[in-house]
Symmetry: D2
Subunit: 140 residues, 4 copies
């Protein structure tokens, strides 16, 4: 299964004693970047070829609190992908117990070097294929 | 109108050259805290009386990119409040142009000192009233 | 006196219940940016003219702990400036009590559009003058 | 050799296109926490036994810029330890090339459950020993 592990850092906690809610949004990003790299087309390479993939929307439902020092596993799933739009969902679980920490979603578009919306299938077929394969892989 | 101003910091940007998407979630929090203080019942006071108000869910739609150095204004609105649950929406605009940067929502519950869900009306009527008034104020 | 006010945010705290030590380094940056703007030559303008001013070193001594919700005042001082190097020191105090929270320093160089070290006096006399005046102002 | 690996995240960069200088301070913390865990006495355990270890001072010299996506290795060294005070130094290198990214230091004290300075040797001999061994190990 496609997954990404994150060790919870002290600076990610707040005075409530657990992880601050904004950090889960950052873990989603860590997961996207890690997954792209593992699937053979890194975010860095995509950016070097002049494509950026901004976040259009994000959401998160907090299910249980995450403690400093625990390891969480983020499971990503490509919900939609057509070369123009990309939608992902995430489930974050405590690695040891499997307890769900949160679920979330993010949606993205692709911009070319001029900052205009672009179809990945046309401007970067190899990267397009990677996302297509990832969609199949995470839909099983 | 209820509003909160935030000056965009350099460390809030990323290599895309604009504000990283996770920071808007933090601005929503800044806005909540500032609004509570202005309305006469600060978050600090609420916490000192043993009540915490964790984020149950959050979402954000990114409309336009925010640059380093600009001032944004966050307009909060209490969408729902019954003493047990609190839902807020936010519109973030560029202060000068009024251009919308993002819209978002957050929902919250209230926990007592033992970490159990609580009804604010019972355990803290003064804080309850503040939220009720804020709801009216932001619904106009 | 040259000074910068910062309201301490919830997300700046950690599970120790007070501000995480890394955030003071960010407040120094906030202070630099704010001071440059007030003195008439903003960091944004400097960057737009192709100059960047990276941090070469930074240090901080933590004197007392900073609580969520308090307002701190950062007092900057230009310790050295010759157009090639810039060194600043900072004192951070609780606004109400004047109690010192931390003291710190940062040193900087100037890079031109090609990323090479540059003498601000030659490539941007107006910005150079601003720092020179600031040095005098903060040395009184 | 004692070392800690960190994968550089997108949200750690700023509009200069490289890692924001404040994040290195966080990597030092990540390194401390990881090292304590590997050496057999985790920071979590120490905190659970009522001891906290605040940062008294920190410094960092930035040698070269760190890019998104690279892996850095942090090499910690216990410079001083007597049960009352702890001083560490760090060297951060690019994992592939060995190029030095920065060097830094942090110093710490130990506080007991009442928030008073404490001698680790007296209040927690096992944790004391761990740091003593770590000092020897990192002095070779």
């Amino acid at each position: 299964m496609v997954q990404y592990e994150h060790k919870v850092q002290y600076y990610e906690t707040d005075k409530m004693g657990v992880v601050h809610h904004s950090n889960y949004i950052r873990w989603f990003e860590e997961c996207r970047v890690d997954t792209m790299e593992k699937e053979g087309y890194s975010y860095q390479r995509m950016e070097k070829e002049g494509i950026i993939c901004p976040v259009v929307s994000v959401s998160c439902k907090y299910v249980s609190m995450t403690e400093f020092g625990e390891t969480v596993v983020v499971f990503p799933k490509v919900e939609k992908f057509n070369g123009v739009r990309l939608a992902l969902s995430y489930v974050v679980k405590n690695k040891e117990t499997g307890e769900i920490r949160c679920t979330g979603e993010s949606s993205h578009c692709f911009l070319n070097a001029k900052g205009n919306p672009a179809n990945l299938k046309k401007i970067n077929p190899e990267c397009y294929e990677m996302f297509e394969k990832l969609q199949k892989k995470t839909s099983l």
